[in-house]
């Protein structure tokens, strides 16, 4: 009975992994297939990676996406970490309400938020007499930061809650200034949470389609927007090629994070 149950669980987990990875695997394999029509039999060729290297639009969009995602990661992670520390370690007027207000944006559909942001930026632009500023990379970045902040605050906050305030108090009694306490105690302890939060921020921004689509002016696109546009025009395995690159990069990032987590978190007995 026990063995049977074991086998059942194992089969189920394999099924889950197949369900998750099969489409990705097929897509990656087809990036190396010569046929532009995804026709079989499989014939290995790097033609779509070469085409990609010459596709300026896609590359430019990719660069935009990376730059925005990186900027978003830095800004949202810094602001969010400070906010999480404030929420977790200080008492101030209106704290409970402010914390409660962090939740709704996660639940509101991005389409609605995107529309709201577009309307808002237009209104600001008109009010200032420069309607042009309503759209652009800066607007996209602002939108992404607003969107990813709650995630950062939650992830860092969860890590913060795992550690007693007494650690910071102890540092203060030992003569550490508030800045030294933050840098030498809070930050190292929070580091795994901050890295995870940064990854979230990067992913939220890099994947973001709706807000980027709404706030992108003509001629400027991000990768998801450009991929969407290409698919509408009829697509080639170039899309597979760039997707494969993205997947490799993100999986590499995740592996680094997994390593770092063990490093900064529960390292035990192996020294």
């Amino acid at each position: 009975m026990r063995n049977l149950a074991d086998a059942g669980i194992r089969f189920y987990l394999i099924l889950v992994l197949v369900f998750l990875y099969l489409p990705i695997l097929v897509m990656a394999v087809l990036a190396f297939n010569k046929s532009p029509l995804y026709a079989l039999p499989f014939e290995f060729d790097l033609v779509w990676f070469k085409a990609l290297a010459e596709n300026d639009r896609l590359l430019k969009a990719g660069l935009n996406s990376v730059l925005i995602a990186l900027a978003n990661t830095v800004i949202a992670t810094s602001l969010g970490t400070m906010a999480a520390v404030a929420f977790g370690r200080y008492t101030f007027r209106g704290k409970t309400m402010m914390q409660a207000l962090l939740f709704p944006p996660i639940a509101i559909p991005w389409l609605v938020i995107g529309t709201a942001m577009l309307v808002f930026f237009f209104w600001i632009g008109r009010a200032m007499g420069y309607p042009g500023i309503a759209r652009g990379l800066h607007a996209i970045l602002l939108g992404h930061v607003a969107l990813s902040l709650p995630y950062v605050i939650f992830v860092v906050g969860a890590r913060l809650n795992d550690y007693p305030k007494a650690l910071e108090e102890a540092a203060a009694t030992l003569g550490a200034t508030p800045w030294q306490v933050f840098r030498r105690v809070s930050v190292p302890i929070l580091a795994p949470g901050v890295v995870a939060a940064a990854l979230f921020a990067f992913a939220v921004s890099f994947d973001q389609f709706v807000i980027s689509y709404f706030l992108a002016p003509p001629g400027v696109t991000t990768l998801p927007v450009e991929i969407y546009t290409s698919i509408r025009k009829g697509f080639t395995p170039e899309i597979n090629a760039i997707s494969t690159i993205i997947i490799l990069v993100s999986m590499g990032l995740m592996l680094i994070v997994a390593r770092f987590y063990r490093f900064g978190g529960e390292r035990s007995g192996n020294e």
């Binding site: 550690y163 007693p164 007494a166 650690l167 108090e169 102890a170 540092a171 203060a172 009694t173 030992l174 003569g175 550490a176 200034t177 508030p178 030294q180 306490v181 030498r184 105690v185 190292p188 302890i189 900064g264 390292r267 035990s268 007995g269 020294e271």
Partner: protein, 357 residues
């Protein structure tokens, strides 16, 4: 080293007074225990001295200097926390060095002083261990070394031994006392463990509802509690209610409400005063009552309700009239007195302590 003086300390949380006018002076080099039920203000006072809490009113002076408006990191204090609060991302040596490092002490001196501290707490050789690789007792020692290495003026201990098991706790009590004596640092510690407080302290203060009920040497507070709360909180006590029926030769004769009479030092009592007397259970001697036994002052008759055996001692619950008197007896060779047997309880006049209700 340093004297700490608290004057008129008041701290309110909403309408609750955590500290309601506390005056205490901690003498130079003294080991001082703050005792009381939870919410009595003892921890609030400790945290106010540390600087985590700002008093609404009152002042805290170390060697005459008012520190109550100085931020935590500029006060020269050492503190050991309940769960030690060792930095998990640093090894033992780094934990201890932290206070010197943030003060900008030179590396060579840091190394030397960390070594000295480890010697003091007898942990040499564990420099490279992480806190989680240490036992509870070792973590406690690291916390102590870390708190002392900066040569603070005052050492604050917040329930320092509560996370240890009983055996280790007793060992650490001895260790704590040894280290404290060796350095001679003024030490203030909070505990809810009365035995620990009595064992370790030069003096104790008993807190209730944000006020100091009584402060003094453990023996003075135990033997001469001022009121019902102090008598009941520190150790066990029987309470006898009565009225002074006469005074002769410095001794007051008190007629108990439940019948019987006791004698107590008269002090400033007057005939007719209603009094409450605290009587420690171990002061009473208990014996089987002969058939012709008669009650006398400080000698009453009762009946055993329960005899509870706990190894080195016995606890008797004795029915006297409609109330119960607790008696502790050392476990000598005599067999425990059987339940329902008639007994005589006797005790000296000096052990009847008149307390405030």
């Amino acid at each position: 080293m340093s004297e700490v003086a608290v004057k008129g300390a008041v701290k309110h949380y909403g309408t609750v007074a955590a500290l309601d006018g506390v005056d205490l002076t901690f003498a130079d080099g003294e080991f001082f225990g703050l005792l009381g039920p939870s919410g009595s203000g003892k921890t609030t006072l400790l945290r106010a001295i540390a600087g985590f809490i700002e008093l609404d009113r009152g002042e805290i002076r170390i060697d005459g200097t008012d520190i109550s408006r100085i931020p935590v990191h500029e006060r020269n204090i050492g503190m050991v926390f309940q769960n030690y609060a060792l930095f998990p991302h640093m090894n033992v040596a780094e934990n201890i060095a932290f206070g010197l490092d943030v003060r900008g002490v030179a590396q060579a001196e840091i190394k030397q002083r960390v070594g000295e501290s480890l010697d003091l707490v007898r942990l040499s050789g564990l420099e490279q261990r992480r806190p989680r690789q240490l036992s509870g007792g070792q973590q406690q020692r690291v916390a102590l070394a870390r708190a002392l290495v900066t040569r603070p003026q005052v050492l604050l201990l917040d329930e320092p031994l509560s996370a240890l098991d009983k055996h280790l706790r007793q060992e650490m009590q001895v260790e704590l006392r040894r280290i404290q004596r060796q350095i001679g640092i003024t030490t203030i510690f909070v505990t809810h463990d009365q035995e620990e407080a009595l064992t370790l302290s030069d003096r104790v203060a008993i807190f209730n509802k944000g006020q100091v009920v009584q402060a003094g040497s453990p023996r003075a507070v135990y033997e001469r509690p001022v009121d019902r709360f102090a008598a009941g909180f520190l150790g066990e006590a029987n309470f006898l209610e009565g009225r002074v029926s006469g005074i002769a030769g410095g001794v007051a004769r008190v007629a108990l409400g439940t019948g019987g009479e006791v004698l107590t030092p008269a002090a400033d009592l007057q005939a007719g005063d209603a009094v409450l007397i605290a009587l420690r259970p171990e002061k009473i001697s208990i014996d089987p009552a002969p058939a012709d036994a008669a009650a006398m002052p400080n000698r009453i008759l009762g009946k055993v309700v329960a005899a509870i055996f706990s190894g080195s001692s016995l606890t008797y619950r004795i029915a006297v009239g409609d109330r119960i008197i607790i008696v502790f007896e050392q476990n000598k060779s005599r067999a425990p007195l059987p339940e329902q047997s008639a007994v005589i309880l006797e005790w000296p006049t000096a052990d009847n302590v008149v307390v405030q209700p």
